[in-house]
Symmetry: C2
Subunit: 256 residues, 2 copies
DNA sequence: CTTGACCTTGACGCTGGGTCAACCCCGCAA
DNA sequence: TTGCGGGGTTGACCCAGCGTCAAGGTCAAG
């Protein structure tokens, strides 16, 4: 008769593992001696070695039982099933590695390369890093919500930057980041935005980019949270009959 | 302001995951509204998306925090470390697959091919499956305890089978598996064993195979548990001055 | 007022045991 | 007889990353 540690030693496992196998019913509980110690027979050694061998070969403990009691055909069926799972797990990890590599290559989190390029262009334009972060966060949300639209929108953004008015607008934004609330450049900026919007409406470009209402609202909120002083601009635009920021629209006039 | 499920939806994670991130301190707990609901701002969406992106790329949650707060150089260092772990895990799984394949190829559990071959040879000799199981279990224990000795011992076993006495012995074992306790073939078998042992002693072959005493005792116990009727043979051998089974030796005569 | 959808905290489950903690038991030596 | 060291026993918490109840409070709508 063997004690638990003798058994464990013979089979090359830890005492704790043996007790674990008892708890999950993989190894039957043996009888106890007069002082309550488990008393094992040599058959338990064989069983335990088999368990350990299967477990070490990647068989989940839950399956070890069926496999041990299985006939040869079922056995190889079971083994094949487990091998399939192992292959799937390996593929999953390889996928993960790829994503990780792309993430490291993309410099910054959760953004496709096209966006990173666009942000770089804004930096070249001389935009302040605080504004870049605002843009970046907006793009993170867009990329998470509607990844298929990202590249389209980026193309439109690049096109817009071809127009001198857009560049001028960005420059004004940059200059007024720290401006006082009554800085005249703010009025100038609102004038510019309004004229651009009127032109856009006349050209039939609604500027929606195909983004969902909820997402647009979320991005406006995010912008105001990060840069509360932008509220001035929103307010001024509203006084002139425009609403929104990410997507600027005419406030509809009620004519019931 | 957003509720937890709105936040979760925007970021593409589950509500449960968000709460989990709170619990482990990955996402700061926001303020509550008048009824105790968590009220999130849009910044939380960005943070959550970043977390989800990293986590989805295989970064352990415990590391996400450092990575999010890290500068670009530390960031790529951290990513590389994680990639290394991923590669290690993949290699581990591939190892596991190999072991599993070998296990399936070996037909039976925890046994090298040489042993399987030897057991097949016993089957060809006409041995009963009950005896084969006895042998197999003994080999399982040997393979677990002293794997480096297995092939040597197998070679010796094959050599022994070249001798007609060994074959005769096996045949007798097989015939007496169900024999009555007073079957004359049992005496015949003991005679044969004794003569073989005497010859072996004279030839200087102690028959130990280099196995450890403990292991030998364990295997004897295993045999007697699985086939209690073999006790007759042990007893008869003891009366003639021999002890053991796996390794049969002279009982030393006390000459104090 | 009720319903159904959403929120809250708390706790268990999964995998395979590792690692205490607190206490019993055995043989050996003083 | 007592103490010591090295066994054994059960119980419970710990790791990751949430899923999945459970039991109840809240909210908007019918």
């Amino acid at each position: 008769m063997l004690t638990i540690s003798q058994l464990a030693t013979y089979a090359g496992v830890t005492v704790r593992a043996v007790r674990h196998y008892h708890k999950i019913g993989l190894l039957p509980e043996p009888g106890r001696d007069h002082s309550g110690y488990r008393a094992y027979d040599a058959g338990a050694v064989v069983r335990l070695i088999q368990i350990h061998t299967l477990a070490g070969a990647g068989v989940p403990l839950a399956r070890v039982q069926e496999l041990l009691d299985a006939a040869p055909e079922e056995f190889s069926d079971g083994v094949e099933k487990i091998d399939k799972e192992l292959r799937a797990e390996i593929r999953r990890l390889q996928d993960t590695r790829k994503r990780l590599a792309r993430l490291a290559a993309g410099e910054h989190l959760a953004l496709p390369a096209s966006v990173v390029d666009y942000l770089d262009r804004l930096r070249e334009l001389g935009m302040d890093e605080r504004y870049i972060v605002l843009e970046r966060d907006a793009w993170i949300m867009i990329a998470a919500q509607v990844p298929h639209l990202v590249d389209d929108v980026i193309v439109q953004k690049h096109q817009a930057l071809e127009h001198p008015d857009t560049v001028k607008l960005y420059r004004l934004v940059n200059e007024t980041l720290d401006a006082a609330a009554d800085d005249p450049r703010i009025i100038e900026m609102v004038d510019l935005i309004e004229s651009m919007m009127i032109a856009a409406v006349q050209a039939g470009a609604a500027g929606s980019y195909g983004l969902d209402d909820d997402l647009v609202r979320l991005m406006d909120t995010a912008m105001l949270e990060a840069a509360p002083e932008a509220q001035r601009i929103i307010t001024l635009l509203e006084q002139r009959g425009w609403k929104g920021w990410t997507r600027i629209e005419r406030i509809p006039t009620d004519r019931l």
